[in-house]
């Protein structure tokens, strides 16, 4: 089981309480699709992804980014049981969506970059350590049920 210090819990909670889900969700997913273009393979039905500009203006992508970020809420609310909380979602990504689990890491990295931009110097070393620990647990849980 993952152990969280009080400090780590406080840091993660604080990041989420100040989060603009729409802004950060949209920016993170767009950045992932632009920086790692092969991730676009999962978004065939999402309209125009022709170049960076069209991706950044795409409302379907924006909406999906928000959805993904709200999905992280579940991990926040169940920090001591993330693996089981995401069991069903993991199966969904494996059996229905057929997403290569390495993509979770790519999106997590983009989310970190976007949050770093938003928080600036407030994204301290301690904050980054806690945040990346949280994301790595989420990423691991999402890949857990693949078979």
């Amino acid at each position: 089981m993952v152990e969280w210090t009080d400090s780590e819990r406080a840091i993660i909670t604080s990041i989420f309480s100040n989060l603009d889900y729409e802004e950060i969700g949209r920016k993170s997913l767009c950045r992932c699709l632009i920086v790692y273009p092969w991730t676009q393979r999962y978004f065939g039905g999402f309209g125009n992804l022709y170049n960076a500009e069209t991706i950044l203006c795409n409302p379907l992508i924006a909406a999906h980014g928000t959805k993904i970020l709200h999905g992280l809420d579940r991990a926040l609310k169940n920090m001591d049981n993330i693996k089981n909380t995401y069991a069903e979602l993991s199966l969904l990504h494996s059996d229905k969506l057929h997403v290569d689990p390495d993509n979770f890491r790519l999106l997590a990295d983009c989310l970190t970059v976007v949050i770093a931009a938003k928080m600036g110097s407030a994204f301290t070393v301690e904050t980054q350590v806690a945040w990346q620990k949280f994301l790595s647990v989420v990423v691991s849980a999402l890949g857990r049920q693949y078979h």
């Binding site: 950045r31 990295d109 928080m119 994204f123 070393v125 350590v129």
Partner: protein, 143 residues
């Protein structure tokens, strides 16, 4: 995944903008590497301290960033330009290549923190590709 002419220009442009803060970013990036990925401290066991923010870590981060800037100047032929650095990493330092990716990520995070407006997705992809090419050139002599 080689750089287009436009991306090379983007990299040069962004690193130009970054130059006044490059020491800070280099020092911060290495500090974050050893903090977020503690296994990387294994390469610095011979230092007095390898903890994030310590003097040797900051100093070495600045050295590394200096090497990255040097590579920007050699962007058209990284393999040839970084030959001796590659030999150093292959025969002396023997840093596992996976760590170049981890450090690159920490550099990107720092760039994003210090230049939130300029570090657009387009700049991000160009710099990420450049750092990946740099890592490849550093690995050239490994085996």
């Amino acid at each position: 995944m080689s750089l287009s002419a436009k991306q090379k220009a983007t990299v040069k442009d962004f690193f130009g903008k970054m130059s006044t803060r490059s020491d800070d970013i280099g020092a911060e990036a290495l500090s974050r590497l050893v903090a977020v990925y503690p296994q990387t401290k294994s390469y610095f066991a011979h230092w007095k301290s390898a903890s994030p923010g310590s003097a040797p870590v900051r100093k070495h981060g600045i050295t590394i960033m200096g090497g990255v800037y040097d590579a920007v100047g050699k962007i058209d032929d990284l393999k040839a330009g970084l030959l001796s650095l590659s030999e150093l990493h292959a025969f002396m330092l023997r840093v596992d290549p996976v760590n170049f990716k981890l450090l690159a990520h920490c550099m990107l995070v720092c760039m994003s923190m210090v230049f939130p407006e300029e570090f657009t997705p387009q700049v991000h992809v160009a710099v990420d590709k450049f750092l990946a090419q740099l890592a490849l050139a550093l690995c050239e002599k490994y085996r």
